[in-house]
């Protein structure tokens, strides 16, 4: 099993969700986050007072998937979240040791 974290542009969330649904991944956890990478912040100007806002708003989504879904999920997210401009985001994949569905007590891939 793998835990996949994707940081994407907020307006691409619906596209990414649809793309993941299409390959059978039907659950995810989403957070609104702030951060920056190569895409620096922006400036705001209030009556001559200029402020550099360093953090960009992003959406972070996490999905727990089986090993054989990883390649398809990466393709789906990359395809749907891409605009070709700086700031499209990143995908991280880490091994997932265990998962448990609280209601039934199922474990492992059955619980995904």
């Amino acid at each position: 099993m793998k835990m996949m974290t994707a940081i994407i542009k907020p307006f691409k969330l619906d596209d990414v969700r649809d793309a993941l649904n299409e390959i059978g991944i039907a659950g995810m956890t989403v957070e609104e986050v702030k951060g920056y990478g190569r895409q620096k912040g922006h400036t705001e100007l209030y009556r001559g007072a200029e402020y550099l806002v360093e953090f960009q708003p992003k959406v972070k989504l996490q999905i727990a998937i089986s090993d054989d879904q990883v390649e398809a999920a990466i393709d789906a997210i990359s395809g749907a979240a891409s605009t070709g401009k700086i700031g499209d985001g990143k995908i991280f994949v880490v091994p997932l040791e265990q998962s448990i569905r609280i209601r039934t007590g199922e474990t492992g891939e059955d619980a995904l």
Binding site: E44, L45, Y46, R47, G48, A49
Partner: protein
């Protein structure tokens, strides 16, 4: 028709004519219903400028932890300044009827409005109406100042400062210009308060910003407005209320009031467009805060001139207000590093000075399409009128500067001007009022 009937008819017409003549040539002390209705309306409009207009305008500009402190200061000032005006402010400014007015302050016959009854008249309107119309000016002037010391002044200090300031600065200057004092007698043209309202408030704001020092983190920590939609809402209310402020200053429902309303509106529009354009050209984008700040600059600048100039001159006054106040704001903040937190001086002060001086030029009847309503009695040139206008500006500026400085030092000694650093970081809403503005 019989002869007798004809005579009766003629008699009736004659009686009617006499009655009509009597009412059109009414003595000054007879109530003029049109004037009275307009002044009642204007009074409501000017109060509306402070609560909620200016309150919302200012409250949106501060950080989220101080939003209530601003709303509270405006509201409390409205209540307290009304009372101070009733007790002693009005009589210092306007004295009482039938008493020869001195150069510096009015007589004390109207302490507690003592020589006013329901029947007392002030020209064609009730004396009580004039008193409350002027009361709304005495409310908004100190309320303008609080933009300079926003987010750091103790509430008690603000109340004490404003009370003394209204008595020592606003009321006497009001007398000098409008109450029969030396500047008015000299022929100063200040229709609705360029000197009385905007210069006094703005100079006091500048002094307060300097005496109190900047907010913690000014220049290094970002302090963007917390709710610009609130600011835009308040700005719209200010614009509407300003019709009462300027056109009401005619104290009549007449041609002068109508012209004042027209020039006020044009100047506001041009000030807004000018500021917006400056930002668009220099920074690449027109900002919402910019366009409404330009509007306030246009309104503040036309205020003293609103009874003196015509519509074409109002366009020039508005445009110059937008451009000059824009540069003044940048200069004060970025070059002088003065934390006049909500930019009271560069907008109201620079605007008030500019408008008072421009009134001296554009009141001339010799400027073609840019002509105005003429010089004051005994003055026959732009140079002569400008000298009087400049005297008014300088006298108001210097007196306010010195008096405000002394009052602030006194208040600092008695109750302390600032909250301490820890409290400032926490925010005035929780520290001073035990409340939060939003629970989202």
């Amino acid at each position: 028709m019989s002869m007798e009937k004809n005579v009766k008819m003629l008699q009736r017409i004659a009686v009617l004519a006499v009655v009509m003549l009597a009412s059109t040539g009414a003595s000054a002390d007879e109530l003029n219903p049109a004037d009275t209705a307009w002044m009642l309306t204007s009074t409501a409009l000017v109060l509306f400028m402070t609560i909620p207009g200016l309150s919302l305008f200012y409250a949106g500009l501060v950080r989220v932890k101080n939003v209530l402190s601003i709303l509270m200061q405006c509201f409390a000032l409205t209540c307290l300044m009304s009372l101070v005006w009733f007790v002693v402010g009005y009589t210092i400014a306007f004295g009482s009827d039938g008493v020869e007015q001195g150069m510096w302050i009015g007589d004390f016959g109207n302490v507690l409005f003592a020589s006013m009854t329901m029947e007392t008249m002030n020209g064609g309107i009730p004396a009580t109406l004039f008193a409350i119309f002027q009361m709304t000016f005495a409310i908004i002037t100190p309320a303008l100042i609080l933009g300079a010391f926003a987010e750091r002044m103790r509430f008690s200090a603000m109340l004490l400062f404003s009370t003394i300031w209204l008595i020592v600065v606003y009321s006497p200057v009001c007398h000098w210009v409008w109450g029969g004092g030396w500047l008015g007698n000299m022929g100063l043209q200040d229709f609705a308060g360029g000197t009385v309202v905007h210069i006094t408030a703005a100079v006091a704001a500048l002094v307060a910003a300097l005496v109190m020092g900047p907010r913690k983190g000014f220049g290094t920590v970002a302090m963007p407005p917390h709710n610009l939609t609130m600011t835009i809402t308040g700005a719209g209310m200010l614009w509407v209320g300003w019709f009462g402020f300027n056109a009401g200053s005619a104290v009549a429902a007449d041609n002068s009031a109508a012209m004042a309303m027209l020039v006020t509106h044009l100047s506001a529009s041009c000030g807004a467009l000018a500021w917006m354009t400056m930002e668009w050209v220099r920074h690449g984008k027109p900002s919402v805060l910019g366009i409404v700040t330009g509007m306030v600059a246009g309104l503040g600048t036309i205020t003293p001139a609103s009874g003196s100039v015509g519509p074409a001159a109002a366009v020039l006054i508005g445009l110059s207000a937008g451009v000059i106040c824009y540069f003044a704001t940048n200069y004060l903040k970025n070059a002088l590093k003065i934390d006049d937190s909500l930019d009271v001086f560069p907008v109201h002060g620079v605007g008030g000075i500019l408008g008072t001086l421009l009134a001296g030029i554009f009141c001339s009847t010799q400027l073609g399409i840019f002509s105005g309503n003429g010089f004051s009695d005994g003055i026959d040139s732009i140079g002569g009128q400008l000298m009087v206008q400049a005297t008014g500006v300088l006298a108001t500026f210097i007196y306010t500067l010195v008096a405000t400085f002394i009052i602030l030092k006194f208040v600092d000694m008695v109750v302390g001007l600032r909250v301490d650093g820890d409290e400032e970081t926490q925010g005035l809403d929780l520290v001073l009022h035990d409340e939060r503005g939003y629970d989202l």
